[in-house]
Amino acid sequence: MGPDQPPLPRPPGDPEKMRQLLDDARRKMEEEEYMRTMPRPVYGGPPVTRRWSIRGIVMLVAGALAAIAAAVFGWNKMAAPVYGGPPVQPVPPNGEITPPAAVYGGPPPPQPRVK
């Protein structure tokens, strides 16, 4: 403390050590926050955590692999009916049955009118 320096504020005993302690604490907090399981959810639902993000990425990759597998190996499998079952097949006047409409791959083709 200099001769004209008022008693307050008191300077740190070791300013260099104080700077080092501050830097160390900030670094440790950042490391801890990265590793820490996030605290409990509050307003607006659970926070998005890193663990959830990793889980999301894994699910996304697994989903993509499943889609590729379905595209490669599922082409000759029976297509599952859509919601409500397959479209009703009206019987044409000549009694011939039209082939079933495609489900997977788009809407059914136009049907002949029933008189």
Partner: protein, 417 residues
């Protein structure tokens, strides 16, 4: 954001017009030998001499002292900032204008809950309405207003509603402090949050800090809110930028506390008996600062002397040398000595990771004097151990009233009567 360098908090009188159930100084009547006007004005000049730049007047209720505006004027004439912290019971429009004219630069009004909770905690029916009436008068007079709130098991569930109310009332800043067992609060340990409950409180504070940032309201965690948990930087940097973190107790470093009879402490909250550095009736303030060990207890930051007092968990903590046991006041009023602070988010998180938790149990009640405290014992137990039966005020995340429609809890209603 303004930086606060040196700061004195001055209990101008212990006389009070409220009867707060958590009042650390058990304020009611004036002290037997409060400073005379001449002594108070002389202290103002001494504060300036020792380097103080800002003075906050508190009580009791500072404005109940007849000459308080003279003190305000003297502080301003000496070139220091002057603010008031008040319960806000009945500041009239004329009183607000007089404060402005005397040079008072800011008033912080204590708001501890919604109407019924606030009135219960402040010990007087109508005190919530009076406080908001005071805020209106102060704003109309052009005095900047802020608010401060206690965090305890009654107020914690209502923090979002308090925030909404004070923002609507035009407050530009909000300071929060944990209720700790000093004075009357030591007589009501059921009010106090238990350390594991901090795990639910801090996410709420983090959320509210975000609201405040969005609304341009300055969010100030008090010195006994911390330390080094996942929200530390977000809570301690109100504008969202900056890397400020807790740097240890500043009592006697850049802060002084003054009791109405001239007793000098390093911080206004510290218990008188253990932390008095002397009285300005006996020695000049500069002499007290230079020679009283109680005011130099935090000197030597960065050296071994600064953390030699640590004990218990705090002694073993990774942040020990910087933190120095958090708020000395909080640690002392729980255990009778500083250096081991149970109100620490980091500590509760560490314990939780270990599958443990700590509960505080009152062992020795307080004597009933201003600034007194009891002594608590820490019970360490498994995190999933049964919680004590009958503890109806236990705080949980789901207790929080984010919207006004959610009614106050049944337990709270029972206690409020």
């Amino acid at each position: 954001m303004a930086v606060r360098f040196t700061y004195a908090v001055w209990e101008l009188t212990l006389q009070c017009n409220l009867g707060c159930v958590h009042c650390g100084s058990r304020a009611e009547k004036a002290r037997a030998s409060e400073l005379t006007t001449e002594e108070a004005l002389d202290l103002v000049s001494q504060l300036h001499e020792v380097g103080i730049r800002e003075v906050t007047l508190i009580g009791g209720e500072a404005y109940l002292r007849g000459d308080w505006l003279k003190v305000v004027e003297a502080i301003r004439e000496a070139g220091m900032s002057c603010t008031l912290t008040t319960g806000g019971y009945g500041i009239s429009a004329a009183a607000a204008r007089a404060m402005r004219d005397a040079g008072l630069q800011q008033v912080s009004v204590s708001i501890d809950g919604c109407r019924e909770t606030h009135d219960f905690l402040r010990g007087k029916a109508g005190s919530w309405d009076a406080a908001f009436g005071s805020l209106r008068h102060l704003r109309a007079a052009g005095v900047p207003v802020t608010c401060n709130s206690q965090i305890n098991r009654f107020s914690a569930p209502e923090l979002p509603l308090i925030y909404s109310d004070i923002v609507e009332a035009g407050c530009r800043a909000w300071q929060l402090a944990m209720t700790v067992p000093m004075g009357r609060a030591a007589d009501r340990p059921e009010l106090l949050l238990q350390p594991p409950e901090l795990l639910d409180v801090f996410p709420v504070l983090n959320e509210l800090a975000g609201w405040a940032r969005r609304d341009g309201v300055m969010f100030f965690p008090g010195n006994n809110i911390g330390y080094y948990g996942p929200y530390e930087m977000r809570l301690r940097n109100p504008n969202g930028a900056g890397r400020a973190i807790w740097e240890g107790c500043q009592a006697g470093i850049n802060t002084l506390g003054i009791e109405a009879d001239g007793t000098i402490k390093g911080c206004p909250s510290l218990p008188t008996a253990a932390y008095s550095g002397g009285n300005i009736r006996e020695r000049r303030l500069s002499e007290i600062l230079e020679s009283a060990p109680a005011l130099a207890m935090n000197a030597g930051q960065g050296t071994e002397a600064a953390w030699a007092h640590l004990w218990g968990f705090c002694k073993t903590c990774d942040y020990a040398q910087l933190c120095r046991g958090g708020c000395s006041w909080t640690a002392h009023v729980f255990f009778g000595k500083r250096g081991n602070n149970p109100y620490c988010h980091h500590r509760s998180l560490v314990r939780a990771r270990e599958g443990r938790r700590e509960r505080l149990v009152l062992e020795t009640p307080a004597a009933g004097e201003p600034f007194d405290h009891g002594v608590f014992r820490v019970i360490e137990e498994a995190a999933d151990a049964a919680w004590p039966e009958g503890d109806e005020l236990r705080f949980r995340a789901e207790s929080v009233r984010w919207r006004r429609e959610k009614p106050i809890g049944a337990a709270g209603l029972r206690v409020l009567g």
